[in-house]
């Protein structure tokens, strides 16, 4: 074939993904620029002096492209072969944080390397994605067996637990995204249903008085038993299943939720959750977790309120580039990292938001399509891993800026300012592109 005679790195590369990537990074650079820019700045000079956020982001972008180039030049077998080694490397990096970390903005997850803040938890997603794909593509992995299920969960939860220990609950939650991969690869659907039910139960616990909730659950259980006994074949298991479910639910309500909110989560995180649903924090006095207080001790929902004001004030068509008062005068904290979406919402309004969301949806669906066209299970699992992680980041980040999710500090892929996050997202994407370019091969 023509390709064989003239082998280039562009062979088989999915250019759509690359274009979407470049477009999103450009939007990100522009947004960071509009946050940092002050009237009268010499734009060209400040872009090149590498002191402002946007010029730093430009360097990170260049670095990402360089890494991407290397990845595209690598043989795709390299990733299957070294997946487990990378995973081990990632865990090691995470562990290295404990002796060498620096305190930055209330997290213990950052290692300072010169002027660059390395956040291994962010980087680790790439490695987990590879390792999980590697494990799932093994011939003897069978998701109907409990041992396989436990192993896969272990691969995901190990780095997640270490991340929680570094007071980065937000980043740890991202690892939950990998369950989508497992679901695709045959994890019984019951887990998804149970997981969803648990989530509903926890939210209900926060919203409703727990005695009332228990009474409601008891009523539902009794009704289920009554009707089950009456209208189906009389089986003893039915009663046992219902009773067990009831016990588990009550345990979650009475024990698990208070435990998580007093012993696991930090005070400010609990506050964020309760400010989201607009209630007083009932565990305020019993929280024993020693963590970092938020840097500026403003009222808990200050960030979200300002963020909503910023996005809401954009209206339908936006206030125009560099015209937004909310973002330009620092009313929204963390606005070039976690709350970057405000800049788009304020400057370009509902239409701008729709456009950005459209690009993201297109990107995600493209990834799913790419995943489905792989012959190799490894490539498919990896592609789903990437798509899930991206989806989790995008959805949670935007939801927290518009007040639909509690504020957990996770960045918006390719748009938020931040070296580690841009580089790790780029790496994930380029590995995907590399694997996809060799989609005819079957990798093990």
């Amino acid at each position: 074939m023509n390709n064989q005679r003239n082998p280039t790195i562009s062979k088989g590369v999915d250019s759509t993904l690359i274009w979407l990537y470049l477009l999103l990074v450009a939007i990100g650079l522009m947004s960071i620029f509009s946050v940092t820019y002050h009237e009268g700045d010499d734009v060209l000079r400040s872009f090149l002096n590498f002191k402002t956020n946007y010029s730093k982001q430009l360097i990170f972008f260049a670095a990402s492209l360089l890494i991407g180039l290397f990845i595209l030049l690598t043989d795709s077998k390299f990733f299957t072969a070294t997946a487990n080694i990378w995973y081990a490397f990632g865990i090691l990096l995470l562990l290295l944080v404990f002796p060498f970390h620096t305190n930055v903005k209330g997290t213990e997850s950052i290692i300072k390397l010169g002027g660059f803040n390395l956040q291994p938890a962010e980087l680790c997603k790439v490695f987990v994605c590879l390792a999980l794909a590697k494990y799932l593509s093994r011939v003897d992995t069978d998701f109907s067996k409990t041992s396989s299920q436990l192993m896969a969960a272990g691969i995901v939860f190990l780095p997640a637990l270490i991340t929680i220990a570094q007071a980065e609950t937000g980043l740890a939650l991202v690892f939950l995204a990998f369950f989508l991969v497992m679901f695709r690869e045959g994890l019984p659907a019951g887990y998804l249903v149970i997981g969803f039910s648990l989530a509903v139960l926890v939210v209900a616990t926060l919203l409703v008085e727990r005695t009332v909730l228990v009474i409601i659950l008891t009523c539902i259980a009794l009704l289920a038993i009554y009707f089950g006994w009456r209208f189906t074949r009389r089986r003893r298991e039915l009663i046992i299943i219902v009773a067990l479910t009831w016990v588990v639910c009550v345990a979650v309500i009475w024990l698990a939720v208070p435990f998580i909110f007093t012993k696991v989560l930090q005070k400010h995180q609990v506050e964020r959750v309760f400010s989201l649903i607009g209630r007083e924090n009932p565990y305020a006095n019993s929280n024993t977790v020693e963590g970092f207080e938020p840097v500026a001790k403003k009222d808990t929902d200050y960030n979200v309120r300002q963020s909503k004001i910023a996005i809401g004030s954009g209206g339908f068509a936006g206030r125009g580039f560099l015209k937004g008062t909310q973002t330009r005068f620092d009313f929204v904290p963390e606005q070039s990292t976690d709350f970057i979406f405000c800049t788009i919402g304020e400057g370009f309004g509902f239409l701008g938001c729709l456009a950005v969301l459209g690009i993201y949806v297109f990107l995600l669906l493209r990834m799913v399509n790419i995943a489905e066209r792989q012959r190799s299970v490894f490539s498919r699992c990896y592609a789903y891993g990437v798509a899930s992680v991206f989806f989790f980041h995008i959805a949670i980040n935007i939801c927290m800026t518009i007040g639909l999710a509690p504020v957990i500090g996770i960045p918006l892929p390719f748009i938020s300012y931040g070296g580690t996050s841009l580089i790790s997202f780029s790496t994930m994407l380029f590995i995907l592109v590399r694997l996809d370019a060799d989609r005819q091969m079957v990798l093990r």
Partner: protein, 695 residues
């Protein structure tokens, strides 16, 4: 294996799309449906800075500014930026302690929040301002802010000008949101009456601020800004030198002086005693001074020229004569034989003159102010056979009085004028159960009984006599800058009121002749000015007050009205000096000095001594001291009851010593300032003694 779960890819796609749909719905809700966020963002980032216009200036008739604008400085603090300030240094300069400092910072925080400036100390003294200005770099978070303030170069016309103050919640509510917190509005006097003319128009500057409330520039390059429009200047009839003379003469007395131009109704001077320096209500001590004056029982803030009501005494007699002549119940040649009293009714009305012939005709009776004659004239007016009943006669008389501008507010351009009282049939019906006759009210004929009028009304009634029947409503403001069709406020002052022009000119001539005789050889000979024919009437009105449950007969009110020159009246003056004695001793010289000052623009050298004698005299009745003590004690006791803080009482008790002999005051209570209870008992002891003495 891969083939088996292919359908699940669609579930994953659905999950993706579902969540994005939720996000889009929420975005649509925030950005398109809820409109409030735009306003919230504006509130966050845009600061509407109000630019206050300069208030208009008030000029006198020769274009000298009676009041003017100047700049004073407030010390302003932004609590959050003041953390590193040199607290001790600042406290030392301001002369406060650190506890007070903390208290004020907390107040500022509560008032405007930690990031907005609040006033720490207002209206700094010039030296203090200079010292702070030098050292302000040591006090981050503090700043000196300009504030326009009124000054009064002539230290005069306090009662006329009024004062300005911050708009209170009542004013803001009544103005339908026109005024805001912190705005200055005229609170009294011309400042209040001509508020709309003087205030000008506020401007607004929209500024951008950042999250720390620091101002960072203009919003939209100032496209929505409006500039402030200066208030319009007033030009008045006031002659500031005449005003100063009037205030000098009435100082240290209770009373009022009003001088007006009968041709235009323009008020040339209006003074009320005791008076105060208008500058004392603008400077750094304005709160203190205001508080002191409000608590003073002599009421220096009261403008007695429009708010004091007095029985007119003999100054009513020219009016009585005019009414009787117009009704035809007397002729100018009629007289009665008075021998020192009027015996026509069951009671005796005394007359100050005894000699035969002082009441031989109208002219003489006015000149010598014969009580018997005017009692008789009044009874004839009421019992006028033309009306068949004294009820109808009184109705007719009341109508005349109203035409003279008495018994109702005359409509001067000052707020809170009172109407005083012209008694009518209803009032007598109520008091005498409908059984009264002309003898019941015979002393109205000599300006007593229930008849009261204000000094301004007195002056205006003279203007009607001087003008032979017409008047303009007395007012201060001649015109103001850029007056347009829409400014209706001055319209009523330019309207001629021909109330009594139906009385023939020669009738006025007769009365005027009598009034001229008063000065030429009658009761007010002290008022003579060579070369000027003055028409005048003195008055001496009885009055009494109730103190400690006992009626005290006070010295008579000394009154004087006049106009001059008779041929071409240019000035009318009314003078009241409370509790001073005969009209001729105090009020007449004051009136005459006013006329001389106005008509000849100066005073003869021999009159300077008289100015000195009058201005230095202190004719405030003794009982005021007792009244002040009583009022203060009652107030102190109320405060004590409210706060249980004995300091309020202690502050007033030692004032026993200053009370003069002759007053019914119990012996000073010796107070041991030891226990609160003790003081409480003493207070009760004092009160019971008082009660015993005056049951």
């Amino acid at each position: 294996m891969s083939v088996f779960n292919q359908s699940r890819s669609n579930i994953i796609r659905l999950i993706f799309l579902g969540l994005f749909l939720i996000i889009i719905v929420q975005l649509f809700n925030l950005q398109v449906i809820q409109g409030k966020y735009k306003q919230l963002a504006m509130n966050n980032a845009v600061f509407a800075k109000v630019k206050y216009p300069d208030r208009g200036i008030i000029y006198d008739r020769k274009n000298r500014p009676i009041l003017n604008n100047t700049i004073m400085y407030d010390l302003v603090v932004v609590p959050n930026e003041a953390r590193k300030t040199d607290t001790f240094g600042l406290c030392e300069i301001l002369g406060i302690d650190t506890a007070e400092y903390k208290k004020r910072i907390i107040e500022a925080r509560l008032k405007n929040g930690p990031y907005r400036p609040s006033i720490f100390e207002d209206l700094l003294e010039p030296q203090l301002q200079a010292r702070l200005d030098e050292n302000i770099y040591k006090f981050p978070g503090f700043a000196l802010v300009e504030r326009p303030v009124r000054v009064y170069p002539f230290n005069a016309a306090a009662h006329i000008m009024g004062y300005i103050g911050e708009a209170d919640s009542n004013i803001i509510k009544r103005s339908n949101g026109f005024y805001h917190m912190g705005d200055y509005v005229g609170r009294n006097g011309l400042e209040a009456y001509y508020e709309k003319v003087l205030m000008g128009q506020r401007g607004v500057e929209f500024l951008l601020k950042d999250n720390k409330n620091r101002l960072v520039g203009n919003y939209e390059k100032g496209r929505y800004d409006t500039s402030a429009i200066r208030g319009r200047n007033l030009h008045t009839y006031i002659d500031i030198e005449l005003q100063q003379l009037a205030e000098k003469l009435i100082a240290g007395k209770l009373g009022a002086v009003v001088a007006l131009d009968p041709k235009t109704g323009g008020i040339l001077a209006m003074a009320s005693g005791p008076n105060y320096d208008p500058n004392s209500l603008t400077g750094p001590n304005k709160q203190k001074n205001y508080g002191r004056m409000v608590l003073d029982v002599r009421a220096p803030l009261l403008n007695r020229a429009i708010q004091g009501f007095y029985p007119p005494g003999s100054t009513y007699k020219p009016l009585g004569a005019l009414i009787a002549l117009d009704e035809g119940v007397i002729t100018p040649a009629n007289g009665i034989g008075c021998t020192g009293a009027y015996y026509g009714c069951n009671r005796v009305v005394r007359c100050t003159e005894h000699w035969q012939g002082h009441s031989a005709n109208l002219r003489l009776s006015i000149a010598w102010s014969c009580n018997s004659f005017f009692s008789d004239v009044f009874r004839k007016t009421i019992d006028n056979p033309a009306y068949h009943s004294s009820r109808a006669g009184l109705v007719k008389w009341t109508e005349y009085m109203h035409r003279f501008g008495l018994g109702h507010r005359i409509g001067v351009d000052l707020p809170s004028e009172i109407g005083a009282n012209v008694p009518d049939t209803t009032q007598y019906d109520k008091e005498y159960r409908r059984s009264w006759n002309s003898c019941t009210m015979v002393t109205i004929g000599i300006g007593q009984d229930k008849l009261t009028i204000t000094p301004l009304q007195m002056a205006n009634s003279m203007a009607i006599i001087a003008n032979k029947g017409y008047y303009y409503i007395p007012h201060f403001v001649k015109n103001f800058e850029n007056e347009t069709e829409k400014d209706t406020v001055l319209r009523k002052y330019r309207q001629k009121h021909e109330v009594l022009t139906h009385i023939p000119k020669d009738v006025y001539d007769i009365v005027q002749q009598g009034m001229q005789d008063v000065v030429d050889h009658g009761t007010a000979r002290v008022a003579q000015i060579p070369g000027i024919n003055i028409c005048a009437k003195t008055g001496t009105a009885e009055n009494k007050t109730v103190l400690d449950g006992k009626v005290i007969q006070l010295k008579d009110n000394s009154m004087f009205v006049c106009f001059a020159p008779r041929e071409d009246p240019k000035i009318c003056v009314a003078v009241v000096v409370q509790n001073a004695g005969y009209g001729a001793t105090w009020a007449a010289p004051i009136g005459s000095l006013m006329v001389e000052k106005y008509l000849t623009d100066s005073l003869r050298s021999e009159r300077v001594a008289e100015v000195k004698r009058i201005s230095e005299a202190n004719i405030i009745p003794d009982y005021f001291e007792r009244l002040q003590f009583k009022t203060d004690s009652v107030r102190a006791y109320k405060w004590f009851e409210l706060t249980k803080d004995s300091n309020y009482i202690r502050k007033y008790l030692p004032r026993h010593h200053s009370v003069k002999k002759g007053n019914q005051v119990p012996a000073p209570v010796v107070v041991k300032p030891a226990k609160d209870q003790m003081i409480n008992q003493n207070l009760y002891a004092k009160r019971s003694t008082t009660d015993k003495r005056h049951p």
